[in-house]
Symmetry: D2
Subunit: 257 residues, 4 copies
């Protein structure tokens, strides 16, 4: 039985005058922060503040690169080439690295955002392009991707450390992929059910797919959200329930080797 897991959240998504996310609250609960790098969200002032917030709260820092589409929040697929994907990854990793270095911090991981995450989860060529970019910048970084995805496969293939992410609020297909948000039943809206699913994924490595079938799932990290007070309260609750189940929350770098 698993005794620990990472809690990660997408942070630093505010942009100029535009505010998104209760980052200060979320930073109290999570162990790893995926910090936007100014392409789909975030800006240098926000990145600085978010890196400092993570350091202050003892939260491990990760880069959260996305597509150059702030109008679409990086959620729209773009047919970039593998070379573009690779250089976009390096650029954004580097930009966050600037702030990590400036504040005396350390970068733990990389998790692509939105459409970049989804495309790299299914397309091995794009996955490898991202992995090459990460590898070239720092081969000690951990890659955080959808459990069982092409991105995780490519990381393992290259020799990069990889961590498997699950979602508390999403339904799974029987092949381990996420049920697309556009389909009915894709979101687990009942909090009690969501939490019991998370606990089972962490402690048993199993989850019930949307077709009723029990499937194996590998969990290193749980993705949580901080968009509003309700979301933050849910994060607090998950943490409490994990604590009761004697599952420790710790950042990826303490157990991914």
């Amino acid at each position: 039985m698993k005794k620990f897991v990472d809690l990660n959240s997408d942070l630093g998504e505010s942009f100029g005058t535009y505010k998104i996310g209760l980052d200060e609250e979320v930073l109290k609960y999570v162990s790893s922060a995926n910090i936007a790098c100014g392409w789909h969200a975030g800006d240098p002032v926000v990145m600085r503040k978010t890196v400092e917030g993570a350091l202050k709260n003892g939260v491990a820092i990760g880069a959260h690169p996305g597509f150059p589409d702030i109008m679409g929040f990086g959620r729209r697929n773009m047919t970039v080439s593998p070379d573009e994907m690779k250089q976009y990854t390096i650029y954004q990793l580097g930009s966050l690295y600037g702030f990590v270095k400036a504040t005396g911090g350390k970068m733990q991981h990389v998790k692509p955002h939105g459409a970049m995450y989804n495309m790299a989860g299914k397309d091995a060529r794009l996955a490898r392009a991202i992995i090459e970019g990460i590898w070239e910048v720092d081969s000690n970084l951990i890659v955080l991707g959808l459990a069982g995805s092409e991105l995780v496969n490519a990381a393992v293939e290259k020799g990069l450390k990889a961590a498997n992410e699950v979602f508390a609020d999403r339904a799974y297909n029987s092949d381990g992929s996420l049920v697309p948000r556009s389909l009915p039943g894709s979101m687990i809206t009942d909090k009690k059910i969501a939490i019991s699913r998370v606990l089972r994924m962490v402690t048993e490595g199993k989850v019930t797919a949307i077709n009723g079938e029990d499937i194996d799932i590998n969990v290193d990290s749980i993705c949580v959200h901080g968009d509003n007070l309700e979301a933050v309260e849910f994060v607090r609750l998950i943490k409490e329930e994990l604590f009761k189940a004697k599952v420790e929350i710790k950042p990826l770098n303490q157990f991914i080797k």
Copy 2:
């Protein structure tokens, strides 16, 4: 008498489909490359290619951060705050650092671009903000700024290595500042005169200001351009004349301590 000088040029200014500058040609002549970081010019694919080109030609690499204004090529003053200036510097330094690390290179220097360069040349608060950003990322970097400017002053004050830049094709005021491009006589269009001025600046540390007065000028690096074949030919010529005058071209890191 000075026996060496650095030749620097702004490179990597192409953007997507848009091409600017004969970078491959210019890289044959200069010793230091100021590489655009995607804010006023450049993009990740261009940055990668430019960093690789510099490495191949043995040209030292520098970051060339600018304002977030690609429509204005970073040449338009923007009233950013010192904190914005600082974080914008860190972001762009970091982004180039990504490519430098990915290619096994080393970053030598930082030279702000266009309006950022001009504003930081005159405004001590903005100059200090940039210098703090550079210092926090890497206190071994050399700051390349207008000879005698606030940027160079702020670097020295902070303990960063600083290099003084002169322009072959620009007229100087008697206080050592550049005559604004909008004024008559601001550009030295006669190549022979430009070259003899450069030689005198390098070997005697003197230049004739626009009012006819001879002034002292400190030269560590000469800024040259590669916009077109004529500009590149001029770079070749300067290099030839410096060679004849027994002035060696070498990158800043070989003599700025």
Copy 3:
């Protein structure tokens, strides 16, 4: 004694996933909407929705062009040329015109945003550039600018209809200009005082400047905000007090000739 005044508000400032402003609430109270055109805020989907909201609420529509600086929300001065200022105005006017035409609406006015508003308020050349752009697109549009500013002067000079705007929450210098936000006392934070100032400006054409002096002020429109519930409540209150004072709220096109 004045019997009517326009109430205007900056609307449609949301951008992609980023939400700003309680537009639906504010539209219930104001008579004129300044709609962002996607350069400093807003996007096409937001513009469409905002134009439709204005039409539904019988609120007159105006374009709110700004600088190409969404990261700075158009609040940072940029040294654009008069020609750039003119073409930027035409572009943004046109873009909003697209939605106005698509929805069967009518455009009433133009009010530049933020730094564009401030720069054009003081610099006659830039003011004239904006006015020329507006004139060329539609010489029936009303220009809404700071009471007594260069923008209003340039409109009058060109023969465009002009409307004078005042701010309920800002202090005035004795020359009629706004006290910069950076100075103490620039904001009128006491709501009762703000409202009594507004009433006096509208009914007597007078306001007490920051130095205690009473000055004349020309009021066609009052600028109000809808950033949060408190701001919206203040708009409701102003409207109520104007009603009590028998001042009718009506859009500019009903009284500016």
Copy 4:
């Protein structure tokens, strides 16, 4: 036998300091200009200049809307929603309309650019979204699309005037679609062959597909390029050969009803 055809070219693609295309040359030969609207290329200063150039040369003006992806020149598919597609079309149409109105011109047509053109050529939902946007702004505009594409179908279905475009330098599949650039044989590089194909398409309404089969093709307009001197020379040549074949070049609005 056809006695006339339109020659169209994508123009106004320069952006700030970045120059693309020999627009002044091309404007001497074509009858219709597709003018970029600042999203995938172009900026307000360039749009103004291009509209004026078209007017001066008696070339009909069309809007050339594209995706918000200047880094990718609008050539990368983006998974936008039909509503986004529609509002993006209205925004860009409107922006060009601003310049057309400012210069006393008239807008003749709309031709989507790059990935927007390709996606709308195959996806009926996206095609209809664009067509609705155009219809709402001005139901007299002509839609210029790939001969036989969904975009042309959607225009006809809605009651908008539609014009069929062919490419001199591209190979066709036997179903009338273009052979993708990524496949061998997709480009017709031999100028003589390209011109004889164009002449046959115009005068006989036939073209030989890549599999050798003769197919019917409907030609209202021929797309030509002005990227370099060689391209412009090819335009001149096509025009000359059409003249010899007694085919008149005239803008779409003179024959599309």
